[in-house]
């Protein structure tokens, strides 16, 4: 069955420390993976997508097909990075995404 796993429900790091939010997926094809973010009192919004290979707000995510992972990384966490983060690969054979359970990141000043 299609699955996406974000093993950490809660993650706390100190400001300036590196942060990595883990995401593992099960998908037999070549997935188009996304990270969405929800800041406090804001809408869920796209943070970055694998295909564009860009860095948004200092975050990057590398697709590792061998490990079926798409971890989100940032070298120096900022307080404004505190938010809920969702990894989202596509549902196999479907026209929609399959969101993980999310990781709530707290950056401690």
């Amino acid at each position: 069955a299609q699955r996406v796993t974000q093993p950490e429900k809660l993650l706390s790091v100190f400001k300036g420390a590196p942060v990595e939010l883990k995401c593992n997926y099960s998908y037999s094809g070549s997935p188009e993976l996304f990270w969405y973010v929800q800041y406090s009192r804001q809408r869920l919004q796209l943070l970055l997508r694998h295909i564009s290979r860009e860095s948004i707000k200092g975050f990057t995510a590398d697709l590792n097909k061998g490990e079926t992972s798409f971890h989100l990384k940032k070298p120096f966490a900022q307080e404004e990075d505190s938010a809920m983060y969702y990894c989202a690969p596509p549902m196999a054979g479907a026209n929609n995404l399959f969101f993980g359970t999310g990781t709530r990141l707290t950056v401690i000043p």
Binding site: Y36, R43, L44, L46, R49, N95, N96, F98, T101
Partner: protein, 113 residues
């Protein structure tokens, strides 16, 4: 962001009542989606629509009904609300299929007593 709106933003209802949550987008996006957000479950897809008059079930469709008579509107109806349907409901839209960015509404907080 004002391109996709949801109403009401907050709703309290009682078990057994019918409730309709509205979603409206001004981008003429083909795809629209309804999700529910619950602690420990993240976002789960309820229903989605690829175009007007085309809808399909998502992961958790039971107890919900949708329609899409116009491209811009995608209402979600709880035919007989249950306490387990207490949740935050998000509507989203996108231009195309799963490769496209989804744009989310502000959400509706629903409490079923």
């Amino acid at each position: 962001d004002a391109g996709i709106t949801q109403s009401p933003r907050y709703k309290i209802t009682e078990t057994g009542r019918q409730v309709t949550l509205m979603c409206h987008q001004t981008w003429s996006h083909s795809y629209m989606f309804w999700y529910r957000q619950d602690l420990g479950h993240g976002l789960r897809l309820i229903y989605y629509s690829a175009a007007a008059d085309i809808t399909d079930k998502g992961e958790v469709p039971d107890g919900y009904v949708v329609s899409r008579s116009k491209t811009e509107n995608f209402p979600l109806t709880l035919e007989s609300a249950t306490r387990s349907q207490t949740s935050v409901y998000f509507c989203a839209s996108s231009r195309g299929q799963h490769q496209e960015t989804q744009y989310f509404g502000p959400g509706t907080r629903l409490l079923v007593l």
